[in-house]
């Protein structure tokens, strides 16, 4: 049950991020939306790794159920990639601000003509 609920949560977070990216007019907020979208994946991966009553995947003779470590590795990689993409996005936003003096998409399109 808790697993299904986390799937629903992950998809909801994804949709919130996507909505933000598609509707917001401010470049920085679009970057925030991208970050939210990416973090939904981390949530999904953690939910996939979850096992009922499982403990941290450190090998020991007494413990029987572990949570799955592979999705955790994927989540770490996804976080790193997400950080990289966010950095590039913010860097581009800085460049755009230098050229146009605004971060509002409507104003940028208008000044491009």
């Amino acid at each position: 049950m808790i697993r299904e609920m986390s799937f629903v949560a992950a998809i909801s977070v994804f949709c919130i991020g996507l909505y933000c990216v598609l509707t917001d007019r401010n470049l920085i907020k679009i970057c925030v939306g991208l970050s939210i979208m990416e973090s939904s994946i981390v949530l999904l991966l953690v939910a996939i790794a979850y096992r009922e009553g499982g403990l941290a995947p450190v090998f020991s003779a007494e413990i029987e159920t572990y949570v799955d470590p592979v999705p955790h590795a994927l989540a770490l990689t996804a976080i790193v990639i997400g950080a990289g993409v966010t950095a590039v996005a913010l860097g581009l936003s800085v460049l755009i601000y230098r050229h146009f003096g605004t971060l509002n998409i409507d104003k940028i399109w208008r000044s491009l003509g």
């Binding site: 979208m37 990289g84 996005a89 581009l92």
Partner: protein, 502 residues
């Protein structure tokens, strides 16, 4: 020798690092390093390709760890075909880039090495997560290449590209997470064997996510809006690479995921093939019509790229091995044709200081050699026999006709007529007498030597497109073998895994 699959990734990465230290080296040393790097990668690819062709597909265990614990690299006919596109493309781009200014060259070369490493990684990746990581790296490097000019429009195009790419990569990651959830593994070979046990509902979600995600990267029609601006914002050298190589990397990832991993070769995926067929037709129509109404030369070529992605989709959508082989062959040919068009077009744009097509008056007089190359490639991409463009379009058409799919055939024929129209328009303008004189190579701010190097590259590209139809049967049988393996992944992976365990 046996470590070639990993060397094709590592070598360009090392040279990317070395060449990024350009400021510390004297100019001659820097050039030497870059030259060695750009020779070494094609050499490795040639060795890898010949090894694969002689001994058959191979699985490589990175660090000697077997699949459930370690990472596997997979090299088969499909990887080899796309690795050839990459190696040729980057090698030619390197030669061609000498016709650009020195300051720009330094930056370009670093990104070229990174692009080579990431796309090589994609071509040999044996598990879906590595495929994703390298795909993501490719995208980030492409974004940097678009924004390299730092002018107003390129920076905006790069941002738009980035937003699309981020949505695409998130979707792909969702698909990967669901695949792992259902099969408990990330190795392609293992997923291929277990995919038939996956629940149909989550299979459908994965399939749709993969097609939409890679559709964004390739330029599937309602998702193509970033593409023309990105190609226009990047320089022509880079645009040629985007259309010729980066787009093909997306095609490769799509084929690998829907066939080898998701096992879409069987009869149960008629719905998918129907969708790809429709999407291909829409791409052909929208791409050619977009190109027809486009007055910017680079954007026109970009829209033509979208149309050619359509031909590839139609070939895959025909659902037969012959159609699949023809689609891969078309992807291979499109690299030579479109890259030559972008790279010869660059001289006209530089000479006229504008990419506005109505200003292209008299380019045939100012740049006779370049124009001949442009014209030959245009003929080939329209599909005039006996060029390479004709050969692959004809094979796609044959595969469609065999299945009795007539509507896509109409789209292909109509598309050919429309594309003939928009290239003829340029031809008519080009052969008129120019208004102003004193243009030509000097107008493009280039020395004779730089222009000669570029011309040599263009001649090689054109030579291929004129002669490909006459290549021996062995050449095309590689494409057929690739298509055959794509359609029978489970059996083929079993054999490969058994071989790898020994």
């Amino acid at each position: 020798m046996s470590h070639l699959p990993v060397l094709v990734i590592v070598i360009p990465l090392i040279f990317a690092f070395l060449s990024s230290l350009a400021g510390f080296w004297p100019s001659a040393v820097r050039r030497g390093i870059v030259g060695v790097g750009f020779l070494l990668h094609p050499l490795c690819v040639v060795l890898l390709v010949s090894r694969m062709l002689i001994r058959g597909p191979l699985l490589y265990e990175v660090g000697g760890w077997a699949a459930p614990l370690g990472i596997m690299l997979l090299v088969d006919e499909l990887s080899v075909i796309f690795l050839c596109i990459l190696a040729l493309g980057m090698f030619f781009a390197f030669l061609y880039s000498f016709s650009t200014g020195t300051a720009r060259q330094e930056k370009l070369h670093v990104f070229f090495f990174l692009l080579t490493a990431s796309i090589s990684g994609q071509m040999v990746a044996g598990d879906i997560f590595n495929l994703f990581v390298f795909l993501e790296l490719t995208t980030v490097v492409s974004i940097a290449l678009v924004a390299l000019k730092k002018k107003r429009r390129p920076v905006i195009s790069a941002f738009v590209y980035m937003v699309y790419a981020a949505i695409s990569s998130t979707l792909l990651l969702i698909a990967i997470a669901l695949l792992y959830n259902a099969t408990g593994t990330l190795t392609m070979a293992h997923i291929a064997q277990r995919i038939s046990y996956m629940p149909p509902a989550s299979y459908a979600v994965v399939l749709v996510s993969v097609v939409i995600s890679l559709g964004i990267k390739i330029g599937l029609v309602p998702l193509h809006f970033w593409q023309a601006d990105a190609y226009d914002g990047a320089g022509s050298t880079v645009a040629g690479i985007f259309s010729g190589v980066v787009m093909k990397a997306g095609v490769y990832a799509l084929l690998r995921l829907i066939f080898t991993v998701l096992g879409a070769g069987g009869a149960h995926s008629r719905l998918l093939f129907g969708f790809l067929l429709m999407a291909g037709c829409i791409n052909i129509a929208a791409g050619h019509i977009g190109a027809l109404f486009q007055l910017n030369l680079k954007k026109m070529l970009a829209f033509s790229s979208i149309a050619h992605a359509g031909y590839i989709f139609v070939g895959i959508g025909s659902g037969t091995a012959a159609g699949l082989a023809a689609a891969v062959f078309h992807a291979f040919n499109h690299f030579f044709l479109k890259t030559a068009l972008f790279w010869s077009g660059r001289f006209f744009i530089a000479g006229k200081r504008s990419s506005f097509i109505p200003r292209m008056r008299g380019i045939a007089v100012s740049f006779p050699a370049m124009f001949i190359m442009f014209f030959l490639s245009a003929l080939a991409i329209v599909g005039i026999p006996p060029t390479a463009g004709f050969a692959s379009k004809w094979l796609i058409a044959l595969a469609l006709q065999e299945r009795g799919l007539l509507l896509p055939l109409v789209f292909i024929a109509a598309g050919t007529v429309v594309s003939l129209w928009y290239y003829a328009r340029i031809f008519v303008l080009a052969v008129q007498h120019p208004h102003e004189t004193g243009n030509g190579i000097q107008g493009a701010r280039m020395t004779k030597r730089q222009a000669a190097g570029a011309l040599l590259v263009l001649m090689v590209l054109c030579l291929y497109s004129l002669s490909a139809a006459f290549f021996p049967q062995d050449f095309y049988s590689v494409f057929e073998a690739a298509a055959f393996r794509l359609r029978e992944p489970a059996e083929y992976m079993e054999i490969l895994l058994a071989g790898a365990l020994q």
